[in-house]
């Protein structure tokens, strides 16, 4: 299986600021996704990061709040903009299409606390 890393692993931020989370895969992948997970809760899909085009957002998530980049087949970023305490959560990226496999592989997550 491939290795997916995220930076930072955790951060504490002030409200009104923005944080960019990086996701790096050690091999080329077809699709990359960004999820949010509140502590003790399930995962909610934020968006699909498309290489070379705009991300596809799920209902309830907008590009102005969660801009996403995917400049190549191994890297993506998620920015949490104008943060509020309600954005405190774990943000996970995942990837699929690794070496022909189609299941999703997840990164370790970025734990964000907004004060």
């Amino acid at each position: 299986s491939a290795v997916i890393s995220q930076k930072p692993s955790r951060d504490i931020c002030q409200r009104g600021t923005s944080l960019t989370i990086q996701c790096q895969v050690d091999s080329q992948v077809t699709m990359m996704f960004w999820y949010r997970q509140q502590p003790g809760q399930s995962l909610t899909l934020i968006a699909t990061a498309n290489q070379g085009s705009e991300a596809t957002y799920e209902s309830g998530f907008v590009i102005d709040k969660f801009p996403i980049s995917r400049p190549n087949l191994t890297f993506s970023t998620l920015t949490v903009s104008n943060m509020s305490p309600e954005d405190s959560s774990i943000y996970l990226c995942s990837a699929t299409g690794l070496a022909g496999q189609e299941t999703q592989y997840f990164g370790p997550g970025t734990r964000l606390l907004v004060l």
Binding site: L43, Q104, F106, G107, G109, R111
Partner: protein
């Protein structure tokens, strides 16, 4: 996307076989069933996937009846390290080679010494 229903929590003693059943009554013809495992402070990890009948790998077995309206994940002889949340997911594979799924609340398995 097909909705799934699974028990919120289960307890088991070490060494026992654990079976977690998931209901997916409105599963579509093209949907596959996938199970993930998540430990605290980690991302979910793929366990097993199937379409029908029985699938077995080095970690678990997946039993799917003919009507495919449910599936059972079987973990043989669990150990304390199997304590985790287990998610049952159902979805079709898109042309881009990915399975778009919706995570439910999962089953929190607690293995007791």
């Amino acid at each position: 996307l097909a909705k799934t229903t699974q028990p919120i929590s289960m307890d088991s003693y070490e060494g026992q076989e654990v079976n977690i059943t998931c209901s997916h009554n409105n599963i579509a013809t093209n949907d596959y069933i996938t199970w993930y495992q998540q430990f605290p402070s980690q991302g979910p990890r793929f366990i097993i996937q199937g379409y029908k009948t029985k699938v077995t790998n080095e970690v678990a077995s997946l039993f799917i009846p003919a009507d495919r309206k449910s599936s059972t994940l079987s973990l043989p002889r669990v150990s304390l390290s199997d304590t985790a949340v287990y998610y049952c997911l159902v979805g079709a594979f898109h042309s881009g080679g990915y399975q778009k799924v919706t995570f439910g609340i999962g089953t929190k398995l607690q293995v007791i010494p």
